[in-house]
């Protein structure tokens, strides 16, 4: 029996989430040991690679812990209370206590976890003051997470954007406070002010949100604002009816409205940092290519992961091929291609946003010396035309691979749903993980044996015909199904498009000033990427068919 309400509430918080907390706290040590055992053996792994990766994992786990304690479900819709135990609102406990318990419990546990890990495993030693600053930053974010979890803002997009902005400001404030130079980024004074403002405003909002939850809609700002907007006639929902010519247009609109904006929004949020830094003279002393390269890397990392979100907005929930989706009077191929069109459109728009940011950043930067030097070296090596071609080739190959990875993730989601995820989900997860490590291992082996691999590639190898033969066999097996789906005409057009781009890439490869073996290898890479890009167009219609007609 607990003697104080705070103890009872804290015990419930830990008890309800014990497995999630244990699981999350175990991830960094497991990843650390795995990294020690595996990454160290890879020849491509730079010295000390395990440290930034483990730091990244630690940050992810800290965020996850904070989310667990705050009961935040950022993907939830307007009825967004997530998993919060609403019964506690009826307990005879003061409102401030209800707001404070998750913040204190989550903040102290997460801070303790992060600081202990940094101190004992990563070997990063902070002074007491610095540790206090980190703990304060985590607690300030907990306040905001808590505020967002209490139905303060019914709009999911607003919540995510607001939280992201607050998180960026908090991180920059902490970096300003922790830096050795007093004028780094915001400077120490403004860093402290920033962190204090975030903490106080977060606490206030969390308290306000609990009041709102307890008293119903007495403080429903959102509804009030909407009423004012509605009455002013400035914003009417009626005026936003899209002109939908037919079912396919309607489905495209629906898909875009539900799933399409995730990746571009991520890119806008990601791009906001560099754009903001353009206005600031403080960080222009770093070479201009570092931030754009980091942005592109993040994009090619995030974009495939968003592939799953093209099928299910909330990855933990059912794929939206429910009754409503499945009973639209559309053919399977129309549904499948609406998905694929959405994926391409979302991807291309995101890439365009990112390139706009990168170009703006590079143009605004006063320190492009490193970039110009890189370009000069490339021009000297490949000639002007070769440099442009190699850039184009790199862009196409990386973009296509990243898009295809997203499409496979989407296919995997569809497949998992088609074969009863509840029953076979763990097998699929295990299989995909095993495949991932297998591919990583093969990549490592090829890299280690690259010289002999290149020599091997220069002599004729008829076994290399096996993949295209397998592909043709697969196409022949699927032919009757595609004929039934009336897909062949569309697929033929798509194959021609992909083939044309692949031919352009092959032309570029053979124009480059490279050793014959490298040209061979690059050619095969282009062919493989072309196939990888095209295969989703074969897979997704079949998977939609599988999901729709069980």
């Amino acid at each position: 029996m607990y003697r104080a309400p705070a103890a009872a509430l804290t015990a419930e918080l830990f008890g309800k989430n014990r497995w999630a907390i244990i699981g999350t706290t175990l991830i960094p040590p497991v990843a650390w040991f795995a990294g020690k055992a595996y990454l160290g053996k890879l020849p491509i792994a730079p010295v000390g690679a395990a440290t930034p990766i483990s730091l990244l994992i630690l940050m992810g786990c800290a965020l996850q812990l904070a989310l667990i304690f705050a009961y935040v479900d950022l993907t939830a819709g307007s009825k967004m209370s997530g998993g919060f135990p609403k019964h506690i609102l009826l307990l005879p406990a003061p409102t401030w206590l209800l707001a404070l318990v998750p913040i204190v419990a989550g903040g102290s546990f997460t801070s303790g976890f992060v600081l202990l890990w940094l101190h004992y495993v990563s070997g990063v030693h902070f002074s007491w003051m610095q540790q206090l600053i980190i703990a304060a930053a985590i607690a300030s974010l907990m306040c905001w997470l808590q505020a967002m979890s209490w139905e303060l803002l019914p709009s999911r997009a607003m919540r995510i954007v607001l939280l992201t902005v607050v998180a960026i400001v908090a991180v920059l404030s902490v970096v300003s406070l922790l830096a050795n130079e007093s004028d780094n980024l915001f400077g120490r004074t403004w860093g402290a002010v920033g962190l204090s403002v975030i903490t106080i405003s977060g606490l206030g909002l969390a308290y306000l949100a609990v009041i709102r939850s307890r008293r119903g809609d007495t403080l429903d700002f959102y509804v009030r604002i909407r009423r004012i907007l509605d009455s002013s006639g400035l914003w009417s929902r009626n005026t936003r009816l899209p002109a939908l010519a037919n079912g396919v247009a309607a489905q495209n609109w629906y898909e875009w409205r539900v799933y399409g904006r995730v990746l571009p929004t991520c890119m806008i949020i990601l791009g906001a940092g560099p754009l903001a830094s353009i206005a600031s003279a403080r960080i222009r002393h770093s070479p201009s290519f570092v931030l754009p390269a980091l942005l592109l890397f993040l994009f090619f990392l995030i974009a495939p992961l968003v592939g799953g979100a093209y099928v299910s907005k909330n990855l933990t929930r059912r794929v939206q091929m429910g009754l409503f989706g499945a009973t639209r009077p559309l053919s399977d191929i129309e549904i499948a291609f609406a998905k694929l069109r959405l994926a391409v459109k979302s991807y291309v728009l995101s890439l365009a946003i990112l390139f706009a940011v990168v170009v703006a950043f590079v143009l605004a930067s006063r320190n492009n010396a490193a970039l110009i030097s890189l370009w000069s070296r490339l021009t000297v090596w490949q000639g002007a035309m070769g440099a442009y071609l190699s850039l184009l080739l790199l862009l196409i190959v990386v973009t296509a691979t990243s898009w295809a990875a997203g499409a496979y993730f989407m296919s995997l989601q569809l497949f998992a749903e088609g074969v009863n995820r509840k029953k076979h989900g763990w097998k699929i997860s295990l299989g995909v993980t095993a495949l991932f490590f297998l591919l990583l291992d093969i990549g490592g082996r090829i890299y280690r044996a690259r010289d002999s691999a290149l020599a091997w590639l220069q002599s004729p190898h008829y076994e290399l015909l096996i993949p295209p033969v397998l592909l043709i066999a697969m196409a022949l097996c699927l032919l009757p199904r595609f004929r039934r789906l009336d897909t062949l005409r569309v697929l033929n057009r798509l194959a021609s498009g992909v083939g044309a781009v692949a031919a352009l890439c092959l032309f570029a490869v053979w124009q480059l000033n490279l050793a014959f073996g490298y040209q061979w290898a690059l050619s095969w890479l282009v062919v493989a990427v072309a196939l990888l890009t095209f295969i989703p167009y074969l897979l997704v219609p079949v998977l939609v068919d599988l999901n729709r007609h069980r």
Partner: protein, 302 residues
């Protein structure tokens, strides 16, 4: 449209889930211009049957034909002629009612925007409200408007009034009647609420454990279902009696539940030496309970 082709033609349809038959050799034909009621206990196979002719389930054995087409091979052609409302409609909650009707209208060539607007007005729902902000009853009403606005040849209502208030239920029944009155279109209503089924349906299907127990006109169902109380000294081979589907015994007294020509049956029983104590016509509710395989319900009836 060819009025000779049955609107739905199901032949020897069998569907199994984990080895258990949800539908077992079902053969039914639905002619045009009728209101069909499907009744059966939970898990009888009603929704499974409906999902087959919506093309959401592939026939494992047998065949399904809707408007003369396979709904799996031709989902677009079949679904564009059907209006469908399910028990738990998973409409996009983020759309306003107006957006939703606009969105739905794009799929159907026959969509009548004025008719749709009139229907929404009639059900008294604010078109500027988001679907997620509506109550369950209001959502069902909106779904019903969307299912009707393209004047479908077949309106399929899968337990549409479960959990709804009487006003919303009445509106659904009104929609069924309206659909039938206009152009003699067809309706298929699956429901637990037998009084509703009795009010609007002219043909009834009793489903139990994946089998069609009875497919008859509503008139025949109400006319021919009887409970007979009798006394007989000798043993009674009730299974061989025409139309008798259930019997309970208490010593020499028997209760027989039958779907038959009552005159012929009582004559036959009297010839076998039975003394008829009482005979009464069963209501639809009683007939449903009597046909239910669950014994505790039967004992209540008896």
């Amino acid at each position: 449209m060819d009025r000779q082709i049955p609107i739905i033609d199901i032949q020897h349809l069998t569907r199994r889930f984990n080895g258990k038959a949800a539908l077992d050799d079902v053969t039914i034909q639905f002619p045009r211009g009728h209101v069909f009621g499907i009744v059966g206990e939970n898990g009888a196979g009603k929704t499974t049957l409906i999902k087959h002719f919506l093309g959401l389930y592939r026939a494992q054995q047998g065949s399904v034909s809707v408007f003369g087409m396979d709904p799996v091979r031709h989902p677009k052609e079949v679904l564009s002629r059907i209006g469908y409302l399910s028990e738990q409609p998973d409409f996009p909650e983020w759309m306003t009612v107006a957006q939703f009707m606009n969105y739905m209208g794009a799929f159907y060539a026959n969509w009548d925007a004025k008719y749709a607007a009139r229907l929404v007005e009639e059900v008294n729902v604010d078109p500027n409200k988001k679907i997620g902000e509506l109550s369950k009853g209001q959502q069902a009403r909106v779904g019903l408007c969307a299912a009707q606005a393209h004047r479908p040849e077949l309106l399929v209502l899968d337990e549409p009034s479960s959990g709804l208030d009487p006003v919303a239920r009445n509106e659904i029944l009104a929609a069924v009647i309206r659909t039938v009155v206009e152009d003699g279109r067809s309706v298929l209503l699956s429901s637990h609420l037998l009084d509703e089924v009795q009010r609007v349906c002219d043909h009834l299907l009793f489903f139990s454990e994946g089998r069609v127990l009875l497919s008859e006109s509503m008139e025949a169902v109400l006319e021919k279902h009887y409970q007979i109380s009798l006394r007989i000294a000798a043993s009674l081979a009730w299974q061989s009696l025409p139309g008798v589907f259930k019997a309970t015994q208490d010593g020499a007294e028997w209760q027989l539940f039958c779907f038959a020509d009552i005159g012929q049956l009582t004559n036959l029983l009297e010839q076998q030496g039975a003394q008829i104590l009482d005979q009464r016509r069963l209501s639809l509710n009683e007939a449903f309970l009597a046909r239910s395989p669950q014994r505790h319900i039967l004992s209540e009836v008896a």
